[in-house]
């Protein structure tokens, strides 16, 4: 049980236990708040309530089996988690993924970014009392989940991105729903903005709340929209492009105010940029072409080949009984998840199971800055600040 050493002394202040079961912590997060009247003097986050030892479990699975575990970390960004893990293993193996698969990956991950930002916007607004935005956001998120279901067969735990490519070819007729979504979405983003951007209550609750300077944000290893709202244009898609992002044309929205309102504006602008990227990927994806790398022994063979070719059957059997063994070494890959820099470190010792899989989860590291954001603020702003970091506790605790 974590206890708090009070900063001023027991006579003047009181300690308030917030969570772990509190709706605005978006999961199970406990924060010990020391209050002087309504002002937060000290805040101590206490986490680990959702710790399931995913990194330890990874060490007991073959490389392909780990993918299903990554889905369950950041459950608002399963495709991004699949992607970062697969990129790391592909780097370890030295695999080149076909362009068509890379573009489909980009499209899916950007759709995921929009859906994640929609959940963030909806829940952040509901925390601050704007009920209706939530309903609007979930209406559009549903459309994205339907697209995921069409592509992957799953709405949330997709496991769609696999080592060396994708699990499935895009289904027949996939273009219509994506096209419909791309046509519909810009006006829907406008709709959210009419509800919030100039809303006096919204501005009152978010403007000037939760300030952090750019130097502090970098020193605390913050990343993603929180860092970009502080004026640092650090985006992995531009800085260290992966999955052919260098071929896409997009801007990195930044603000300099570095408060909750600026972070809201950055995320809304990011949704628009993502739509722009999806449109480009949509045009780049050809109707025919490979979706998996040519690497027998690592990529499961096609079903038809297994029935006609002996080698294919042997490879299939070997991949699913003992797995494949990358050469000994380490690889560290970072991508831009909706929450920030998502990294994956994979170490191999030449056996079919990874020696170590580590995820650099942006929620965990951004949450570290929470005391900095809320100390000296009012207790009502704590809710705004937790929301504005956009944490997913499944990823914080892993």
């Amino acid at each position: 049980m974590t206890t708090v050493e009070t900063a001023i002394g027991t006579a003047k202040t009181m300690v308030l236990n917030m969570g772990p079961q509190h709706p605005s912590t978006h999961g199970v997060l406990r924060i010990l708040l020391e209050l002087d009247g309504e002002t937060v003097v000290k805040a101590v986050p206490d986490l680990g309530y959702l710790h399931t030892g995913i990194e330890k479990s990874c060490e007991d699975k073959t490389y392909s089996q780990v993918i299903t575990l990554t889905d369950r970390m950041d459950y608002l960004n399963p495709l991004g988690n699949n992607l970062v893990y697969c990129l790391a293993v592909e780097k370890l193996l030295g695999l080149e993924v076909p362009k068509r698969a890379q573009y489909i990956r980009v499209m899916m991950v950007e759709l995921q970014r929009i859906s994640s930002h929609l959940v963030w916007l909806g829940t952040h607004a509901i925390d601050l009392g704007a009920m209706s935005v939530f309903l609007y956001c979930f209406r559009e998120r549903e459309e994205i989940l339907k697209i995921f279901e069409l592509f992957t067969g799953q709405r949330m735990m997709t496991s769609y991105i696999r080592i060396g490519g994708l699990a499935l070819d895009p289904p027949a007729g996939w273009r219509q729903p994506v096209e419909r979504f791309l046509k519909m979405m810009p006006s829907r983003v406008d709709e959210y903005e009419t509800l919030l951007t100039e809303n006096r209550i919204w501005i009152g609750r978010t403007k000037g709340v939760g300030y952090i300077s750019a130097e502090d944000a970098i020193a605390l290893s913050m990343s993603g929209p929180t860092l970009r709202a502080a004026g640092v244009a650090y985006d992995n898609r531009k800085m260290f492009p992966y999955s052919s992002y260098e071929e896409f044309n997009f801007n990195v929205p930044t603000r300099t105010e570095s408060d909750c309102y600026a972070r809201y504006l950055v995320r809304v602008a990011e949704m628009r940029e993502s739509l722009n990227i999806i449109r480009q990927a949509f045009d780049k994806i050809k109707d025919e072409g490979p979706i998996k790398a040519d690497a027998p022994g690592i990529i499961p063979p096609q079903r038809e080949k297994m029935k006609t070719e002996m080698e294919a059957l042997i490879y299939h059997f070997k991949i699913f009984t003992e797995g494949f063994s990358p050469p000994p070494g380490e690889a560290f890959v970072t991508i831009e998840s909706p929450r920030g820099e998502l990294g994956c470190f994979v170490a191999s010792n030449g056996s079919p199971k990874p020696l170590r899989v580590h995820f650099r989860s942006p929620s965990y590291i951004n949450l570290q800055a929470l005391p900095k954001l809320i100390e000296g603020q009012l207790i009502a702003d704590v809710i705004a600040c937790i929301g504005t970091i956009d944490i997913v506790l499944g990823e914080v605790d892993r």
Binding site: T2, K56, L220, E330, F332, R356, H358, I365
Partner: protein, 174 residues
Amino acid sequence: MTEPASKNANVVAECLRSWNPKAVAEVSEYRGETTIVVPRELLRATAEHCRQDAKLQYNFLTDATCVDRFPAEPRFELNYHLVSIPRREKVRLRVWLGGNDPVVDSLAPVWPGANWLEREIFDLFGIRFSGHPDLRRILLPEDWEGYPLRRDYPVEGYRDVPNTGELFRKSSTP
């Protein structure tokens, strides 16, 4: 298996060697990633230099993690991944730690962001960071025994009994 050193690897190694010849024990390149092995006692000074030096500008600590190479000795491989935002470069600083004395200087005084990263390593690997401002368990309960991410810690844990129905039958009999 090593690859020829990249341009950035040469820049970092040269810069660190000219500052302190002992700071770089080994430079290796694998899959386009540069790893600089640093002696344990020089870790904090080297990290500080990487952050401050005008030629390096590694201002962002992105990740810190550990690999347990049990039963090899030294078993712990501690990796710090640094990013230079102005230079768009990455580097990995590595320290080897022995199993009977896993202590190293904390990097939290250099990057405050190392605080929770090191707490996580302490929690799951049992590596102690001297000079850390708040070295407590973070993900596991405070009374947890052992360090689960060590390779000699079984995946099923020590104490959890698989539910074979035995416990249920015992508890339900009056």
